[in-house]
Symmetry: C3
């Protein structure tokens, strides 16, 4: 091949010194931005374009040639054109034979085409080694150099050597390549930049459902009921009073739902007597979005804190306070201090403060950069020990808030209990079951199961090969 | 020395096994710290020094030799001495020929010398391959191993192979090399550690200016006016009341200024009919510091929240409340509940809480480790969709706070409107223009322009090569 | 499909194209998870097991062979079995000769065995090259792919080439290898995942001690004293009032203790006239846990803020307020505004708000991902300049809070001063000494010492080789 001889000649006097030329097909935004960055990192760059006059926006150290000429100059060709224009590449099949073609394209919709763009490219030019890369990086991020969004570049391809070459370029640009395996992974990689918080979908939908339910529940109890029976217009409760009932209730339920799947998994493992059979799918998915559930719960807890702290500034509350004092003043009365009330009020506030602070701490440790700096044991300590402590404190906060109102008939309007009473169901179940699981008669077999022991072992020698890292 | 001969013998049968010797010129803090770290990572280290007696602080596995002897033992020589002492290296030019010299030095001032230290070194020893590296790492960070500050090591140099060797050492030390291109980049790399938050300068100066303006503005309205007309001493307003007027006003203006450049850019692109011509420089710079502007705005919003929440604890406020109740009690009056006021008060508080919570969420997503874990689409969703929602909520918060006071003559003292009225100008302009831009007659051409379409195309075939990643 | 047949042909002559086979001994959780991940990243995987029937949980692309057969297929063998089962490896010594053995094991306790597992393995199979790696990664993290915990993989080993091979595998899996040196480091690496926040132990124990002391101190002053002398039951103060005395006091003392070691170090350096002699061990340890001390202080400050902001919601406080107004109403009196009190109250609140906000900012900048993105100068600016400003603001907050109560005899019950008076001792000492150290007569020699100057120099030429990066 004359390409090789050309390369060898060009490189002979100075082989080690130079990075290999990279060719870019397409002079659009992304091609230009990538070319600019490559030149900065020491790669000679040639652009392949239909129009070989150098446009003004092309980086000035780059050459612009015809596709054929450009392709001959480099072993790696970055295909920075849209999928619908790929077809012309078939005419270049001969020149592209043996070359590394880097597919950087994205689609507009998830699973827009039956096969991924990279696989389509590999079918069009069967002699080339296709590598998928760079599709998660934006032209703007490359140009501005700020790279606020991710530095991760997913790379996949069938040819190891080609993939290695592309990964070296990625590293040279200051980005982090992540090998995702063979070209089959391209579909997933192409879908990645089109995703919009997939792990957050379930937690957010669930919390929206809970918010809607408790909104109408509280509306009936707190606005419609007094309007019907006392003809009082408390519609302004919609702004703060009702949200401040919804937020703590939703936060507590979501927090309990973070710990419920762990408890369910323990029961399943105990029942099955092994950890080597898969959990049901819904449980697996639930366990994978526990972090997101917890963070949504934290957001509601945060809102609850703010809504609570503005209470004394509210016009209605100030009016109520001054009215109460005035009515006492008119009767020439003074109130004695009710120590029980003082205890209850201070306790539930204190429990709430401690619970929220621990919850906030849990939120901080789930920041990627913090969790990257703790080891596995520390991570589990924070997320399970401190997590349960948070759940206990928040449940206790709600119980003490209820205080002696649980049995008072005035708490039930139209037979509807207060919203916070409903919110206690899930956390109490989780805490009771967890408490039962701590008893040695259940904890011991569970620990053994998690270390690999099986009640009805399938492979007798497996217990020899336990690694002391239990799942979860 | 018999220790040396032993080493050589031990190494003979298994050369591939060993990392290559690294030589360090200079036994100062940084040289010693780097030597220590290199030895830890398996590199044999020799120090070159005028004084060849091993000082007590040199790592014990390292040899100390004369400069000549040390240089002969290694292919890579780290020049850990100050620039003003570089001149003696000319006498070693012959031995240093073909070696990789790593310049680790920093200056005391930005652009202290006409050329960078690394370029000066390359001039002094023209036969050597000079690489700039390690200048952003501190001796203390290397020694303590904590590396709280950055793990990034900027590397530049004209010789690819030499740069690669240095980058491998950087990686072996557990640091992240970032290739910055040729030795021309050394100037910038040397200036980097001398920078003090360059991106923050404009946002901070701007906000200080705004703070100063609104401080005097509020001082006149809230302290001097009542002193002149009512002889009341409200000087203590300087501590909380006035800051709590300044903070929300500055926060809202800065938040609007985050979104103003995007709107301006859209207008410019629509007017020009293309996205392929550069924005004016001031707009480019403004767009690059939007994140910092937003975070400064968040800081003021945070202060506003704290200042607002302490209101009921303030001695003055408690006095005012009790005085108001007492005057009603003396007149034997009670106040009826003003539902409109309750609605207004609760609404602006609720809007403020929601706005601040969303703003806080935006702040969290701008943490590097969080933004690294979202894809480009998610990043844009958070920063633009949620960002505009934040701006709308905060503007509405201010509008409702104003309520029916906008037209009340008591809001104007010496013809000066309330500060919050002034703060509404910029956000309202941004929101109105953004609202206009959403109309299909403007949104459609804008989308097409951002996808590469041009009203008066310069290169007719460019539209074929659009990559579906639009800027911003 | 002709694409497939072409591919097979294309791959035949080009073996370099393939990643090398990796062998895994042990089919436990960790072995299987690692095997799965390796296959994903393109490595052919064979498992060595006593039972060569493929168990259902083994990744389907992997082979399961006898230990002998499996070992022969690969140059790298990952020993994913527990230490107590290592002994059978001696029988395979011949086959394992020259192979790279990767020890991934962990123990149950710190320093459980006299030598590390990796060193024990190296003794058992002296002909093999043992590398320690992967022990910080959990099976669950590998399987789920979320890798919430650390991506860092500590690697150590005596053979450079073997270590390099393992580090390449680590990188291919998308993890970050950190070379920790020779196999001697294995002990430390094996202890790492068993650690539970070692740097936090001292700060947390210290703060618990302070909390206990100030709890009983406040209990005596605020609950027992009024009970004894006035027969009042203020036991409910335990929930909020007493914690809200403890938190600010502990936060201020801990914050001052963050800056005390720096001041002590300066005094020691000035006294010794050199920076080249080691600090006492306790001072070194103290300096290394300053960040943790500061963050614990921030947590207490955060609690203090929440405890303070709920004050107006407390049942007791509302009772006290209404009682005070009622008693005035009964006497038909009104209170005039006390401007001094208004000034004092607003000032200490404002100082507290500013101090806490700055403190919060310091906390944010100590997040790993934030501190990774600032240069050394910026890091020092934030941590020392802004840190001292925080200390000054918080000390001033406490001083103004005390106000004119310092000399009032009612502040002393049973000769015990208020807790906040005790908390002022350490910060005032730190600030006074720091203020003295700023005077030029002390600052100049200190700066020179920190740049390497010595009062009684040991090596006369060292001053030539100062690098302008001073420690701390």
């Amino acid at each position: 091949m004359n390409k090789n001889s050309y390369n060898i000649m060009a490189l002979t006097p100075n082989t080690s010194n130079k990075r290999e030329t990279v060719c870019i097909f397409g002079t659009g935004d992304f091609g230009r931005a990538l070319g600019h960055k490559l030149i900065q990192s020491g790669y000679p760059v040639v652009f392949g374009s239909r129009n070989t006059q150098t446009p003004s926006l092309i980086p000035k150290d780059a050459e612009v040639l015809s596709h054929t000429e450009a392709a001959q100059k480099a072993a790696i060709i970055i295909i920075a054109i849209q999928r619908q224009h790929y077809s012309f590449l078939t005419s270049l099949a001969e020149i592209l034979h043996g070359k590394v073609l880097v597919d950087v394209s994205n689609n507009l919709k998830i699973n827009q085409y039956p096969e991924s763009n990279a696989e389509y490219l590999a079918q069009l030019v069967p002699g080339a080694k296709v590598v998928k890369a760079f599709n998660t990086v934006s032209a703007w991020a490359l140009q501005s150099g700020t790279l606020d969004a991710s530095r991760q570049v997913f790379v996949c391809g069938d040819d190891m050597e080609a993939k290695q070459m592309v990964m070296d370029i990625v590293r040279a640009l200051g980005l982090t390549p992540l090998d995702q395996g063979s070209l089959l992974a391209a579909q997933e990689i192409e879908n990645y930049p089109l995703q919009l918080f997939p792990m957050w979908k379930f937690p957010i939908l669930l919390s929206l459902g809970l918010v809607a339910f408790f909104f109408f529940y509280s509306l009936i109890r707190d606005v419609i009921y007094p309007y019907v029976y006392e003809s009082k217009d408390f519609s302004f409760f919609i702004a703060i009073s009702i949200p401040n009932r919804i937020c703590p209730v939703v936060a507590l339920i979501l927090l309990a739902l973070v710990y419920l799947p762990g408890v369910l998994a323990a029961i399943i493992q105990l029942y099955r007597g092994t950890k080597y059979s898969r959990f049901p799918d819904w449980l697996d998915k639930w366990m994978l979005c526990r972090k997101q559930l917890g963070l949504v719960a934290l957001a509601f807890a945060f809102l609850h804190v703010l809504y609570t702290l503005v209470i004394p500034i509210r016009s209605f509350v100030r009016w109520r306070t001054s009215n109460k004092i005035l009515s006492l003043a008119l009767k020439n009365e003074t109130e004695p201090l009710n120590t029980t009330n003082a205890w209850l009020s201070d306790s539930y506030l204190a429990l709430g403060i401690l619970g929220f602070s621990l919850f906030f701490l849990l939120g901080i440790t789930s920041l990627p950069s913090v969790s990257n700096n703790v080891n596995w044991r520390e991570f589990r300590f924070v997320q399970s020990k401190l997590g349960y402590l948070t759940l206990i404190l928040c449940t206790a906060h709600t119980l003490v808030y209820g205080g002696n109102r649980f049995l008072s008939p005035s708490s039930y309007r139209w037979y509807l209990p207060n919203a916070y009473m409903l919110s206690l169901i899930v956390p109490c179940i989780v805490l009771v079951v967890k408490f039962v699981l701590i008893f040695p008669c259940l904890d011991k077999p569970l620990t053994r199961i998690r270390q690999g022991w099986e009640r009805n072992p399938q492979y007798p020698d497996k217990s020899n090969y336990i690694i002391n890292k239990s799942a979860v």
